[in-house]
Amino acid sequence: MSSLARDALGSLREPEFWAYSTWLDIVTKYRRSRLGLVWLLIPPLIYVLGVGYYFAKLQGLSPVAFIPHLGVGYLLFRFLMTIITESSLVLPANSSFILDGHARLTDFVFRVVAKGLFYLSVAAPVLIIALAVSPQLDPWGLAISLPALLVLIANALWMGIAIALLGARFPDIHELMTSVFIFGFILTPILWSASAAPPGTVHGVFMRINPLYHLIELVRAPMLGESLETTTLFYVAGLTVGGVLITGYLYRRYARFVPLWM
């Protein structure tokens, strides 16, 4: 019988495999390019500063105020999106390990999450600059945003594990996720502000169904001094507890079948 708590703790206690293989994946990817690891910085730089500036002008907003909003939103969205989409394929991708008897499946999801965290922290300098010049920055809010980030990561973990199990059984999951995220990016207030979709409107309802909206808003709103709806707090609390319980059940019930699905 596989226990999610036991395996997840085991992965944390013995990080060698997932941490080292993630690091190797990242460094070998850029090893032969001229700029090397600098390439990691270029997409967030272009997206946060370039797209941020352009979209601010397009909407008649002040770039120094809009860029941090877009930057935090985009980087957190990218973090969650890559974890969810990559998790849907991670178990088949590691089938040779699994078929050789490496039964702790959480290790593979930790690989995905560790990679996401690495990309997120590489982009952090861009964000710090954007936040430093922002007129909205709320230093006290940062004290709330940082623990909120841990909640977001915890949610990314259970989502990754649940999606990994589902994706191992149904290849459809990966196709579904890639399609959903095209809409998901527009549905989440990254290029626009949550105030544009007030409660009671159709688009407001859609936005509030989207778990990524609540997770991102929980981290972003406090540090930028934006208001946080109480529904977000309840939603995230329910999402975290419910998600962990459901994933624990799925893992206990189905993890042992994963090698058979390969």
Binding site: E14, E16, Y20, L24, T28, R32, S96, F97, D100, G101
Partner: protein, 260 residues
Amino acid sequence: MDVKAPMAFLAARHVSLELPVFRQKDSSPGSWLSMLVRAAFERPQREFRTILDDINFEAQEGDRIGIVGRNGAGKSTLLRILAGAYQPTRGWLDMTGSRQALLNISLGFNNEATLKENIYLRGTAMGMRTSQLMDLVVPVLEFAELADKANDRLKTLSSGQRMRLGFAIATAVQHDIMVMDEWIGAGDAAFITKAKDRMLGRVDGAKVVVLASHNFQLMKEVCNKGLLLERGKIQYFGDIRTTLREYEKVLHAKVEEASA
């Protein structure tokens, strides 16, 4: 007998395994067009098939069991159960001692990374801790005779060299039980002799070895017991020479059946 070190022991008790298989429906198409359309839209059917049926055997310390059988008899599946990847649908394994499987030669290699980095990588995948990894590199490279290539990218190795590297890593740390698939044949003669020595336990070998192979010579030299699988059932379990003779009979019967 040293009381503190428990004897290595491996036994399968009534092990059966059913696997889901996906099948396209067998249909006689009316035309080319309908065949193409069907291939695109018909969902495969999921059915369960018994791959292994009531497998029972025991391996005591010092036993080296050779698994033989025709293609599709269930050899690889049985190895995967012994490696701990598949859990049997019915039955169980009794096991004492640490276990290491070498089923897949390309397992966990990163082509863009250097040999040294790949040794670390595969070491961590086998559950080694940081302190052990540092001591792993030199003996592995020496055994694989690749010391001069330590910082080359893995891509540049030939398949035989990869096999040597894989074997060297997997056998670098002594495990009580070793489960191996037949890829050992890819090495050159000198290396096979060296690998045999390791498996025979002359050079820090495992106490129980389970090996699947089609190489009769290798089996005769390495194994003392044999297990003949036929359609997921044990047809014979006993000493290796008798097992190979039984296996020859099965092969022979099939040839006659085919020519009749």
